[in-house]
């Protein structure tokens, strides 16, 4: 199945600017992109991001063993947003390097735990997790009805210039 993820250059800039801010104790920041899906004529789905939901400073847990650990309030608030706005939720964080990023083992483990929770409030929608680098991205998408997530096949950054990865 083809999974295409789209984000405008402006929104991507906002995401990166937000995630690059220093946190009082966490080594990195995380957030959520609100998205809506569209069905493709060919076998697949396009996920269209439209707004960033920040994780508030106080909703991080002080855990030096990881870059950022969300507390229960961070998850609860994101679930509320998903419910209120009928949104597909994609967790986002940033690896500040060039080239294709990958999930760390902790990213894999943690996202597998909390992403399917969004089906408790929005069971019909795909949800996922994405890591951006300076010039690329990698992510996984949990499709309703499928047990395992699928890798996002393609990212499209819509702006001037257009970029596809």
């Amino acid at each position: 199945m083809k999974i295409l993820f789209k984000i405008t250059s402006r929104l991507l800039g906002e995401v990166k600017a937000n995630l690059e801010r220093a946190h009082p104790f966490a080594a990195e920041r995380v957030g959520f992109l609100l998205c809506r899906p569209g069905l493709l004529r060919e076998d697949g789905v396009v996920v269209l991001s439209h707004r960033l939901h920040n994780v508030a400073d106080e909703d991080y847990v002080d855990d030096p063993s990881v870059g950022a650990m969300m507390g229960p309030d961070a998850i609860r608030k994101a679930l509320q947003v998903a419910y209120n706005e009928q949104a597909s939720m994609f967790h986002v964080h940033l690896h500040s390097h060039k080239g294709k990023p990958r999930f760390s083992r902790i990213d894999e483990k943690e996202s597998a735990k909390f992403v399917p929770d969004f089906w408790n409030v929005r069971p019909d929608l795909p949800h996922g997790a994405i890591v951006f680098s300076n010039d690329s991205a990698y992510g996984k998408c949990w499709i309703p009805g499928q047990r395992s997530p699928e890798e996002i096949s393609q990212f499209a950054f819509v702006g001037v210039p257009m970029r596809k990865i």
């Binding site: 809506r36 569209g38 493709l40 019909d124 309703p144 210039p161």
Partner: protein, 283 residues
Amino acid sequence: MKSAHHSELRLDRQSFLGEESDLVLRRSRVGIVGLGGGGSHIAQQLGHLGVGEFVLIDPDIVEDTNLNRLVGATQQDVANRASKVSVAERVIGGVNPSAQIWTGTSQWQMCAAALRSCDVIFGCVDSISEREQLETAARRYVIPYLDLGMDVHCVGDGFVVGGQVALSMPEGPCLRCMGIVDDRSLALEAQKYGAAGGRPQVVWPNGVLAALAVGLFVQLITPWAKIQDLPILLEYDGNAQTVLPSNKLAYLKEHLCKHFADLSSVGDPFWKPLEAWKRMAGG
């Protein structure tokens, strides 16, 4: 071996577009809605450029009255009642046999799902209402939309040839902001519905406008000459043979579009995943 060698050389003279421009163009998926006077030029040029994937939509067949401007169409196509999209498919395939081409011969609204995965959509439709609908569909799936319009007007004793090319980017000013679509024009068009008749059309203004639109597309996806200012609205005066940025652009600097105020209306309006997944699974 010979054909592979030819394939490598085919785009050799346009390597100035950027180091990986061949790859970028080959991976591009472009929608062209309307394969008549304007769209046939665009299909031809994108075929030469090496665009890899096409979605071509037009419900019409080739008629005698099209042969004055429809690039690639022949008398035989008229006799065979060939579709306009089949002509474009043949033209593209003639220079780029590896291009993947999807064609639709219904109204574009009936096969709009094919456009959702396009990187850019070219709108070469006649009516103002269709242009507005097509732009709305493009915005819904966060797709840049290039709109072409050409007209011949009778003014006094003579005829004035004019047109414009507009680039409508997601989150940027739209066709309404640029004054291409407005309620008065839509109302006038609705009054004339069904009585349009054969509008005057000629080949070269379509060619000029199509070439401008293709140039903007290349600027959008390759590093050759980055677009510096948005929005883009180019106005063509066919009698004076000039193309100039529209005066309206002065009023559109820092303009926030109120018609598509944000991205909150993106995606399928009616998301029916169970049906969708079943269909995808072939069920």
